[in-house]
Subunit: 367 residues, 2 copies
């Protein structure tokens, strides 16, 4: 088992990465001195529940905890205020009190939903993340939790750091290939923004990662989490540096939003967004190789890098305007400087964005 | 104008108390360096809007701010997730960004609702309180914001400190008498929990306070805010001492909850709760005068101190079980030790609560 400490002063917490951790949930709870008198709420989705819910419940109960479970539908649509209210109902009816822990057992959607419940139930209770996807190596670090508004993604949320993250890599073996690819998109992103050496390692080990080789996965996830933890520990509340984690997200969120949060997985949308950011940087004078290398790396992971032609340019622009990164009436973009290095740019004109959208539409093969 | 500083480290903020402050809102915003590039959201209710909304809008606009306004229905029912979502829609459509301020112009309901919007819109934006009720002298200090769940009050919320509180005492002149009485209930509470001298002052100045005498009001509100600020600065997140502010609230919230948040005003419900707490303390051995003096003080303000007979005992108990103060399966009560002093008690048996409910029902005159 690898342990990584996220350094945030009195809100610091550990990430445990290894095999067989879900079956030891009770021991981890005891070690973290979570209250046994207070019911624990497990939030998971219908895909994850049949695979791992009983394992976690049994382990907690064997250690003397009482548990209440809430199973939501899989997918981004569960990040709604309606589902959030449902989970709150379960929490209240289950008798959760201020010392109760809320557990997110699942991917990024469950983590964001359960995390915002933990942040706001009785104005905040302890939160434990048990990610079961590769994508969640990103979302489970840093304390950003949220639900969606029908007009824009992640609009309603909080910063709420977990007590711990239990990352059982065995749970990744059951992931569908499309989720594996989309999850690795965020891992690659961590290389692109911070660490050229790690980006190169990702390129070289793409086949092993796609095949879920445990050794490669363990190293890649630890490295990805470590980069994210480093950035977050410098800037917990996204006042500056943390924005670099949004590489590919300005356009990526817009692609997700106008696709109704169903057509594209998050990792696919930001892959297109990362290609677009590289193109935009090249249009502004960076070497053309920067775009070519970025696209080649993403394509090693079988990720999309062209803009689907059916996505309406005006709708994309409109969705970007509603994004949180639209601050004081200016779009903020994270643009690559080189592989492993980015800059925060706030003077991107709408015309530049339109040009890149058009250029990336041309990259899509005609059918 | 009186200025009171709430001391919370980097989250410290001032409370300005005086006449004519709403008409100077723009100047206060400038002094606090709130962004002029980011739209300001004003949240108020249908009673307050015709009286003061234009004053605040004009003042902000004269200083170069753009504003968006959301008027909700008056009353506790606006503290729902549905209305919360509506306000979020206005915020998004109005183009609010991360530097936008959310303003609560109104009483405790608007403060709690707008405060939770400010706490969670884009994971938190600046918040400004402009209380227009006496009750809000309590709720506008301390950063507790929340909406209700249909099963229990204030169940969903956050700790989110404002940038400043602008308390325009001129706005209190338009309050209906019942709201004046209910608001003074929290002022009296601050005397009862902390300051026997201030409790005595309240008793002596009850008539002036009920008649909204500006000098008495100015002093009483400043004193009430100061006591609350003192307690909150010691214990921002309600880990210990802050619980004393809940005198009368364990039963008070239950009374409100089973009355459907419409039959009793908050101040009325906690008045009954404070009488009950004193009775409970006397049943446990305190001098009988403690109950008599508490009731006499509350009655000077024409506040209810008997338990209405039609409130079902089992429903009251059930609602208490859902309260946040029900921690690790025990009811937590704040009980008076003497006028001006309380203790936190967590071993109150259900039988004691039942007895007090029955005794206070006997206090209600038969009709």
């Amino acid at each position: 088992m690898r342990t990584l400490q996220v350094d945030l002063g009195e809100r610091s917490y550990p990430i445990y990465i290894g095999g067989g951790l879900l079956g030891k949930a009770g021991e981890f709870f005891e070690n973290h001195q979570l209250s046994k008198k207070s019911p624990v709420l497990l939030v998971t989705d219908e895909h994850v529940a049949p695979l791992y819910l009983e394992t976690v419940e049994s382990s907690l109960q064997a250690s003397g905890y009482t548990t209440v479970s809430k199973v939501v539908k899989a997918g981004e649509k569960s990040k709604s205020l309606d589902v959030y209210e449902d989970v709150m109902t379960t929490a209240i009816e289950g008798g959760l009190d201020r010392r109760s822990a809320v557990v997110a057992l699942g991917g990024g959607v469950v983590g964001d939903l359960a995390g915002f419940v933990a942040a706001s139930y009785m104005r905040g209770v302890p939160f434990v993340q048990m990610p079961t996807t590769i994508l969640a190596h990103d979302s489970s670090v840093g304390g950003k939790v949220a639900v969606n508004h029908r007009l824009a993604k992640n609009m309603i949320g909080a910063f709420h750091q977990p007590e711990m993250v239990l990352y059982d890599v065995d749970s990744l073996q059951s992931l569908p290939p499309r989720d594996v690819r989309a999850g690795l998109s965020e891992m690659v992103k961590h290389g692109l923004i911070w660490d050229a050496e790690f980006a190169a390692w990702c390129r070289e080990h793409a086949s092993e990662l796609l095949a879920l080789d445990p050794e490669a996965l363990g190293f890649g996830l630890t490295q990805g989490c470590a980069i994210k933890a480093k950035v977050v520990s410098v800037d917990e509340r996204e006042q500056g540096l943390r924005a670099i984690l949004n590489l590919g997200h300005t356009l990526g969120h817009a692609i997700e939003a106008i696709g109704g949060y169903g057509e594209f997985l998050h990792g696919e949308a930001i892959s297109i967004g990362m290609a677009a950011a590289a193109k935009l940087a090249v249009n502004r004078g960076r070497d053309a190789a920067l775009y070519q290398e970025t696209v080649a790396l993403l394509q090693r992971f079988e990720l999309p890098t062209a803009m689907p032609r059916h996505l309406d340019e005006e709708k994309l622009i409109g969705a970007m305007m509603h994004d949180k990164k639209f601050k004081e009436q200016q779009l903020v973009f994270i643009l690559p400087v080189a592989i492993g290095q980015v800059e925060i740019v706030s003077d991107v004109a709408l015309g530049e964005v339109r040009r890149v959208i058009a250029e990336l539409k041309e990259e899509e093969p005609h059918v």
